[in-house]
Symmetry: C2
Subunit: 479 residues, 2 copies
């Protein structure tokens, strides 16, 4: 929250790494050209290092770059090869443009844009030819007026339609191409007088461009938006599980260990921050054909419900993290009383999440989920019981330690005071119970996903989430 | 989470309204053409109604559509006017394309894209001419090889560079245009032999296209990304304040009133969901010149720190909402003991947020913030005191009511049990204290914003956030 620093007589290099953290390289005074060049080289080296890290982290990104280069080289053959030049060469420019604009990282993105481009070009072309035909019948003076008016009205309406969420999500790119093509055909028709030939040429080039894009995109190391989403969801669920365990450990750790915060805990932040990429991947996955283990009409939108349930957990964990961050002053006695049940509950919840993640990743219904959920609910009940027995525990401990008791009433007084001072740890325990309850929402969402996506049942039977043992149902309102 | 319904022999219309809720229009059987037409008309009417609602909600969206239409009509004049046609008419297509692609809703978006397009075209054009010059010196056979290789290498590298977050955020569109222009010039130069003339033509058309875009965008009802962000942040802060009050009221409301949940509370969800639009607006605002009350180098990125602090509050409120949703079984006695302090604290915190929102909106430093913060801290202290005195209160109340006391120990036992049963309400109170603490983070972030943006001090003096009264500092660890 500090203002941007101005370093006098020096250069400050702030390297933003993908995760959003930033590393500041110490400024040094610049003396003449040598240092300036050195500074530039260092900046270039930093940039190169960053690029290298990104490439090393996900080599498919490098492959994507190479694929675009290959597709463009392929399409530019239309310029070099003379026979082809005489065919569509004059318009080969459009094929180049199609490749540059349509080629996306995922197959879904490529298909979405390719479809949008093709459909928008055909629709707008036909409409423009129609308008042009009407305008040409209206006489020399009226023709430009009709054409201009049609361009104005259609461009305005199409631009406005982009604000409709349903259209924005699917046809945003198509609208751009629609306006572009309509304007080109409607307006250039006034000059060129070869409208149908022009339309035919554009259709060829679109087919060539989109075809090359799809061939390269699908057949050379394809990246499927659906699979990305699938892996993102299961990966984030594992992070959530690790994070939950880490938070409980940190919160109920013995005081001497508190200097070493668990490296696991920030995992839930990934869940909080990945909504945008999940939405876009689910959107693109719908354009993709069946691939790998994903059938036709795989329930991609159900993944969004799973991630919403995960975020619901993560919000609660964020509040729990607030408890961890505050210095907890609860007596070691109270902590040790709650530590066992809390760590157990968090580990139970974490096990459920990990099993769900495994079930999603392998696309197999899990046989152990009902047991794990029952175990987690039992853990929640134990936590409630521990909370309820807390005053007695403290009382008996107090009685044992301090033998100079000043009567029962005073002791109870002390107990209630220490109870009230232990409030943050009790709040943490309650939040943990709340998280475990929200994990049940995740179980439900994943169960629906398993049913919709027809997860493999050969190895396992995914029983109902309802507890088999009625007595194990936690009485939520009491915690 | 239910699977998509298949309605046999009927049509189901699911209308998704912008907020994400969906209204399902009852399906009706389709009997022949009349009903089919009627169904289509109903769908069209539904679509029209939605469009009307969006337009009525923000008429600037309609104006934006009209602006795009006007800019396109203006640029298509280049086709109709013969003298102009002879000048750049053949390339006027590029001006049309520039207008369609560059015209964005906000001035910042338009400037960003215009700058990207212009810079990328110039850079790529110069580079391509250089490569072409080298290739033409290398002989008939080597020329296409050099050109193809340069296209391949540059397109691959440029595509990969998009994965660098810093480049993605600012120059994504520029990279597309860079690849496009480089390919065009490098490849078409092989045929056209009029490279410099071609480059000059493209420069003209870009200038014309971007010029028309900017003229229309800036001078006809401009929408500034900066102002949008400014209003979004202050508006969301007010929603957060209302929401906080609403949640506390719901949570501590008397039981007979619980059927009516406050309409205010979901406001914090706006804060949770608006990260993407805040990020993009802050990004675009940096491209904008000084406008209205915003000076050159207005600290747009500080707004993101304010919204991060607000989200930090909202996470905690989400957990609090979980408490509200659960049926709270605390005794009316306990509730009424805590109600006063909790509602006061939430109203104090809410007042702070509202004052901050007012301060941001009017861009004036607020004189009352330090007092309000002190008041809020006092409220937090009172809440702590109330929590600490809770056992005594319950004890005395229990003593008054139940005269058939079975000794002091039994009474204390009862008290501690009822204490433990009231856990959700105590957790809610603790979360409320945590929210009020996080509100201090918002105060700090807004204070930094006020300093960086030099908010108006004429009317008020924005004192330090540090409490004037040291004794008023809440002892956080005790709640």
């Amino acid at each position: 929250m500090a203002p941007e620093k101005e370093v006098q007589g020096g250069v400050e290099w702030r390297v933003t790494v993908p995760e959003g953290a930033s590393a500041v390289v110490e400024p040094r005074p610049v003396n003449g050209w040598v240092d300036l060049v050195r500074a530039w080289l260092m900046a270039a080296a930093g940039f190169g290092r960053k690029a290298w890290l990104i490439g090393a982290d996900d080599p498919r990104k490098v492959v994507h770059g190479v694929k675009v280069g290959a597709a463009l080289s392929l399409v530019s053959l239309f310029y070099y090869t003379r026979p082809l030049y005489d065919g569509v060469g004059g318009w080969a420019m459009w094929a180049v443009m199609t490749v540059v604009v349509v080629f996306e990282f995922t197959v879904g993105g490529c298909l979405c844009k390719g479809f949008n481009r093709a459909m928008a070009t055909v629709t707008a072309g036909l409409l423009a030819v129609g308008v042009h035909w009407i305008a040409s019948r209206a006489g020399e003076t009226a023709e430009p007026v009709i054409l201009s008016a049609s361009v104005f009205v259609l461009a305005s309406a199409a631009t406005f339609s982009r604000f409709l969420p349903a259209i924005k999500a699917r046809f945003d790119y198509g609208i751009t191409i629609f306006i572009l093509t309509f304007t080109f055909v409607a307006v250039s028709g006034y000059r060129v007088d070869r409208l149908l030939h022009l339309a035919q040429q554009r259709a060829y080039t679109i087919v060539i461009g989109v075809g090359i894009c799809l061939l390269v995109c699908v057949f050379i190391c394809p990246v499927w938006a659906g699979q990305e989403l699938h892996l993102l969801v299961s990966g984030n669920m594992e992070k959530l599980a690790d994070s939950l365990e880490g938070l409980a450990e940190e919160c109920f750790m013995e005081d001497q260990g508190r200097q070493l915060p668990s490296a696991k805990s920030p995992g839930y932040k990934c869940v909080l921050n990945s909504k945008a990429s999940e939405d876009s991947q689910a959107n693109l996955a719908k354009w993709e054909p069946p691939h790998g283990r994903f059938r036709f009409r795989h329930p991609w939108s159900q993944y969004l419900k799973v991630t919403a349930a995960m975020r619901y957990c993560a919000y609660c964990m964020e509040a729990l993290n607030g408890c961890v961050a505050s210095e907890i002053k609860a007596s070691e006695k109270m902590k040790s009383h709650l530590r066992g049940v809390c760590v157990k509950l968090s580990s139970d919840s974490s096990k459920v999440l990990k099993e769900l993640a495994r079930s999603i990743r392998s696309m197999e219904e899990s046989r152990s989920i009902p047991c794990l959920v029952t175990e987690m609910k039992r853990g929640a009940q134990e936590l409630q019981a521990a909370l309820r027995s807390l005053p007695e525990q403290l009382m008996s401990a107090g009685g044992e330690e301090e033998t100079t008791a000043d009567g029962g009433g005073g002791e109870n007084q002390r107990v209630t005071v220490s109870l009230m001072e232990g409030m943050p740890i009790i709040t943490a325990a309650c939040l943990l119970a709340e998280v475990s309850e929200r994990v049940e929402g995740v179980v439900e969402a994943v169960g629906a996903l398993a049913a919709l996506a027809r997860f493999d049942r050969k190895k396992a039977a995914f029983a109902s989430v309802a507890p088999q043992d009625e007595s194990a149902t936690p009485q939520r309102q009491e915690v």
